[in-house]
Every structure is written in structure tokens, then in C-alpha cells.
Symmetry: C2
Subunit: 170 residues, 2 copies
Amino acid sequence: MSAIQQNVEAASAKYSESFTKGHLALPPAKKYLVLTCMDARIDPAQAFGIELGDAHVIRNAGASAVDALRSIVISEQLLGTTEIVLVKHTGCGMLTFKNEDAFGIVEKNLGAEAAEELRKHSPDLLPFPELEKAVEEDVAFLKKSKAVPESVTISGWVYEVETGKTRRVV
Amino acid sequence: MSAIQQNVEAASAKYSESFTKGHLALPPAKKYLVLTCMDARIDPAQAFGIELGDAHVIRNAGASAVDALRSIVISEQLLGTTEIVLVKHTGCGMLTFKNEDAFGIVEKNLGAEAAEELRKHSPDLLPFPELEKAVEEDVAFLKKSKAVPESVTISGWVYEVETGKTRRVV
């Protein structure tokens, strides 16, 4: 067992010992979802004030709304959420490369077949050159999507990894 | 401003007041990633023992490895992670429907164009009928993927929303 796997087991033993939330229902109690980045420096529950059971939390590289659309529609249409809080962040890795850079790295490290497999799965790796603009564009994408009804409230934010603050953009 | 947006602002003010982690680096310090479900009843940091800055956390509907491949490859090839901890959970919404049910609900609620947009984006919404089997299949998918090198350590787990326990499957 790896050190990381051992850590999961130890944390789980400790967490479950004092666990008292086994009664929570499947649909989020506060009917909202948070979409943010997979970045290691973000703890959504603490930073954005999410109580256990209250909200879906979707995370991917860059907090991409395009990438998250499947999960967002399932959240809303099957589990009743009616509000989206989208949070990108300062210092995001997605600000640091372009598609061709990334595919080039994969091809160099893992070979042409690996790069081709990734290209087929994700022809666009969804990097973005400007943070605030990317928040605006992702909110606009969701507002335009027919699969997200107009009744859904959508806001866009930036989390600052340097200060722990979250500020509204749109 | 909605009550949920007010809650984000209040939580952020409180969190940033005592924030001391502004120095953390972009690449995850412990070089691993956790892939789990967006389910509101999961707090990965607490349940799986993730310290701020240590690991990428990817979350989507069902903890789908197929859906997460873009983020996983970016995590590994651009940000140096070398281990994947994949955690699905009991009581998952993805156990409760089939693709045609979900597309039918979207069409009924939002119209044929919305269902068609979703179908184009995600022809498979990635539900699964059996929990443990789905964990095994997702781990197998990652092990088979050329874009995930053999050197990456992969384990598959189930989190029990009833007990707060995480147990290893594969």
C-alpha cells in the first residue's frame, strides 16, 4: 500500500469515528452547485462556506463550464439545483500553456499514440489566457446553453490563492 | 444578490481573515490527485485526509474517469502528479437512471433542442448500474489509457455516505 493510500485509510478511520451525517439526503439541501478548479490550493467547503449536504461541488482543470456541462445538467435536471456558483482562481495552471504546448508534452513524454488518444478525447484542453475574461466567457456559455434553463441563477467569481479571498466578477 | 451569493461573501471574509497559506506552490506537494463524485454529502478534504496544497481534487457526476481524462492528463503531464485515488460512493445518483431516462427528462423539461444540445455534448451521461463494478471499470479504463503512463499508481475506493467510511475496492 502506498503512503497516500495509507493516509486515506487513516483519515477515513478518524473521520468516520465521529461522523454524524449519515442521514443526509441525495439532493443538495440548498439546491446549488459550485464549479471550481481541481487546484490543490482550493478547499471549497472552507473557502466558499459549503456545509456538508448543501451543494454539489464540481471540479476540473480550470473550472471549465464546457467540461462540466454533463455534471451541471445532471445536477439541475435530475437533482433539483437551481443556482451555479462558478469560481476560477489566480495562479491557475490553465493560464500557463496553450493546447499545442500540452499535446507536445504528452507526445514527448508518452508517445504519439498517447497524444492522439488525448486529442480524440479532448481536442481542446480548455486553457485560457485571461482570468476574469475566462470567468465571463464561462458564465456566458452557461447562460447561452439551452440545457441550462434561464431560471438558473449564475454568478462568476475569482478565488485568490495568495489571500484566501473570493471576489465576484459577474 | 442571492442568499447563496451572500453566503459565499460571508464565508470568504471569515476564511481569508485567518488565511496563512498564500505561499503554497501550484503543483500538488504530495503529487497525487483524488477523483470523486460531485455529491453534496462528500467533503474530500476531511473524509480522505487532504491537506491544502497536497493534491488535485477532480469532481464530477459519478466520479467518472472517462469524463475526467482531460483533467487527469493535465494533472500528471503538466503538474507532476503520479498517483490517482478514485472514490465513488454509496447512494450515488448515477445508480438511479439510464441515459434515455435522463435525456427524456431534459427533453420534457427544457425541450427537444436542449436535449439535442446535451446529446451532442455528452452522448453518454455515464450512469452505472453497479457501484463496485463501476470502480473496477474506471480503474481499468485509466490503466488501459495510453495517456496515463504505467508508472502512475491507481487505487479505487468506495465512500459510504451512511457511515463516513472509505473502503478500498481495487
